[in-house]
């Protein structure tokens, strides 16, 4: 059995087990909790493509995710199209956003890209707040169908969609890691000048990575309005997304496809469990501290404890 086949079969099996055990539970809350964790698997895997492999820090996860969420809302309002086309449209919009930001800033030092992504979220939020078509600061309501056969509830449907997206995101991360693109990005992270000198088309690879990273983040955000039934700018641009998108890969182990998955499952589950017991601010505060402590003391993340080499 080839490693590729083993990965996809393993992922499909894992997905099936997850799905069946949640169905046995038969509780909508479990689906929502699962969705919450899985969206972070997508988001963290997306961040890792640019941040983990190429070493370019994207601070704008919330901005890209919100772009995806609002793209889904716009598509629904304009054409009446539902979630699945919304996800594709979100990938397109957020991917173009990533491409544009990258194109304008990536010819310079990487830190300018980071700074640009940092303000991107603020500015997109300004645009959305001023845009009445999507509800402005009041927010937009999405009335979704009660259920979609053959699924028992809409929550289950959303969970399954996000499950598929999470597996795709991890698979894309893994494919990047094993491709020339991934090797080229790693060469860029280690030494961009030397990479260029040995024939790596650095700008093009970085643009591919920013586009892919943006598109996947948009995909992570597209189901958000359907998940909460209502979306306002404050929720869509929540700093929680930006910090988790960075913290999860770095804590799990950036630069490996499994790192963000581990980090996302771990941190998101913790946060999901903790919201019941402690305030959401304290919750996020702990994530911030974990990020700082991990980058300082364990720069290779949890996976770094288990293997000597990246």
């Amino acid at each position: 059995m080839t490693p590729n086949l083993r990965f996809w079969l393993g992922a499909a099996l894992l997905a099936l087990v997850l799905f069946l055990s949640l169905r046995l539970l038969g509780n909508d809350y479990a689906y929502f909790a699962g969705y919450f964790v899985l969206q972070y698997v997508v988001l963290a895997s997306a961040w890792n493509i640019l941040g983990g492999y190429a070493g370019y820090v994207n601070f704008g996860a919330a901005g890209f995710m919100a772009a995806g969420a609002y793209a889904a809302i716009v598509l629904r309002q304009a054409l009446g199209l539902e979630l699945l086309p919304g996800i594709l449209f979100a990938a397109l919009v957020a991917g173009l956003l990533g491409l544009g930001t990258g194109y304008l800033t990536l010819r310079l030092r990487g830190v300018y890209f980071s700074i640009a992504t940092l303000c991107l979220a603020v500015v997109l939020q300004t645009l959305v707040v001023n845009w009445d078509y999507v509800g402005g600061s009041r927010g937009a309501y999405i009335v979704h169908p009660r259920d979609i056969p053959p699924f028992t509830s809409y929550a289950e449907y959303l969970f399954v969609v996000m499950l598929v997206l999470a597996i795709l995101a991890a698979g894309i991360g893994r494919a990047v890691e094993r491709s020339s693109l991934g090797r080229g990005l790693q060469a860029i992270r280690d030494n961009e000048r030397a990479a260029e000198a040995v024939g790596v088309p650095t700008l093009r690879l970085k643009l591919v990575a920013t586009t892919l990273c943006g598109a996947l983040m948009g995909v992570a955000g597209a189901p958000l309005p359907y998940y909460s039934g209502y979306l306002n700018p404050e929720a869509a641009f929540s700093l929680a997304y930006a910090v988790n998108a960075i913290a999860m890969p770095l804590i799990g182990g950036a630069g490996t496809w499994a790192g963000p998955v581990i980090g996302a499952v771990l941190l998101a589950s913790l946060q999901q469990a903790a919201t019941v017991t402690i305030s959401s601010a304290l919750n996020l505060w702990i994530v911030g501290w974990m990020l700082v402590i991990f980058v300082a003391l364990a720069p290779k993340g949890i996976l770094g404890w288990f293997r000597r080499r990246p």
Binding site: F59, S114, I115, A116, V122, N130, V243, V292, V295
Partner: protein, 293 residues
């Protein structure tokens, strides 16, 4: 006079005053980012922290916010040296400032912001000085003291910093460390000590800018967010390490943003920051007032 012209003139003047506040916020970053090459994205968050301590101490002691800002600056200097020591130990020394160092400052920013929410709540806090509602008038032009005093305060701080950097031995050493750390070693000066000192100054400036911010507007824990784009844009436009360039860029920026707000509504002004930043990065990355690389 034509009312539109009056509006424009007033927009420009209050933009200049607003630019004074931006200059205060950006000058500290010009030291950290421009001279020391430390991408401190937590700078605005530290400024807002300074603003909150000004509100707390000023209310408690019954003193003017700007006076409190000066008095508390040494504490922020110490905080800055502490942050730099950690940054140097964990990232700069290991050569990992790019990815991990950026993530570190992002984490610090986040911890500060959420920490402020936990202590003070998400709502706005203010401390009005006695002159908050006084406005001087020059013909048709309004000069609200709430804007004028912080702008003058900012210019005084930056002037002092400028003299310090250009006249004192330590100041010259900071300029030298920006150019070539090895040259300093030959002069038996420890570049790490110089950088720690300079970063402390940078954070002290952030806290003083926080004092100016309190006078201009009420503050909330997330106030720093809109400043990130602004002050990095200003710093880059100003040519990174140049204080005069930074002040010029800040004033220009204040005017453009304020005139935009006057004619198109204030909710659009944050978009100006990003637009400018992208344009500068795309077409003049060496800054508006910088020399060609």
């Amino acid at each position: 006079m034509d009312p539109d012209l009056v509006l424009l003139l007033n927009g420009i003047v209050s933009g200049l005053l607003l630019g004074g506040l931006y200059a205060a916020a950006a000058s500290g970053l010009a030291v950290a980012f421009g001279m020391l090459d430390i991408v401190n994205i937590a700078h605005p968050a530290l400024m807002v922290t300074g603003a909150f301590t000004v509100v707390v101490l000023g209310t408690w002691l019954g003193l003017d916010p700007l006076l409190v800002a000066v008095l508390q600056a040494p504490l922020f200097y110490l905080l800055g040296t502490g942050i730099y020591s950690a940054y140097h130990h964990f990232f700069e020394k290991r050569g990992e400032e790019a990815l991990q160092g950026l993530a570190f400052f992002f984490g610090v920013m986040f911890i500060i912001e959420v920490g402020l929410v936990m202590v003070f709540g998400p709502e706005q806090h203010f401390l009005d000085p006695s002159y908050a509602y006084t406005t001087w008038r020059l013909g048709e032009i309004d000069l609200p003291l709430r804007m004028l005093v912080p702008a003058l305060f900012a210019m005084a701080c930056i002037g002092a910093l400028f003299l310090f950097l250009h006249r004192s031995f330590v100041g010259l050493a900071i300029a030298a460390v920006a150019q070539d750390a090895d040259a300093l070693r030959l002069m038996a000066i420890d570049p790490v000590r110089i950088k720690r000192f300079a970063f402390g100054i940078s954070i002290a400036l952030a806290s003083m800018a926080g004092g100016a911010l309190v006078v201009v507007q009420p503050v909330e824990p997330s106030s720093g967010q809109v400043f990130i784009g602004r002050i990095f844009a200003i710093c880059i436009m100003g040519g990174m390490a140049s204080l005069p360039g930074c002040v010029m860029a800040a004033l220009l920026f204040g005017v453009v943003e304020n005139v935009t707000a006057t004619f198109y509504g204030p909710s659009w002004s944050p978009a100006v920051a990003f637009g400018w930043l992208l344009l500068v990065l795309a077409f003049r990355p060496q800054g508006l007032f910088g020399k060609a690389a």
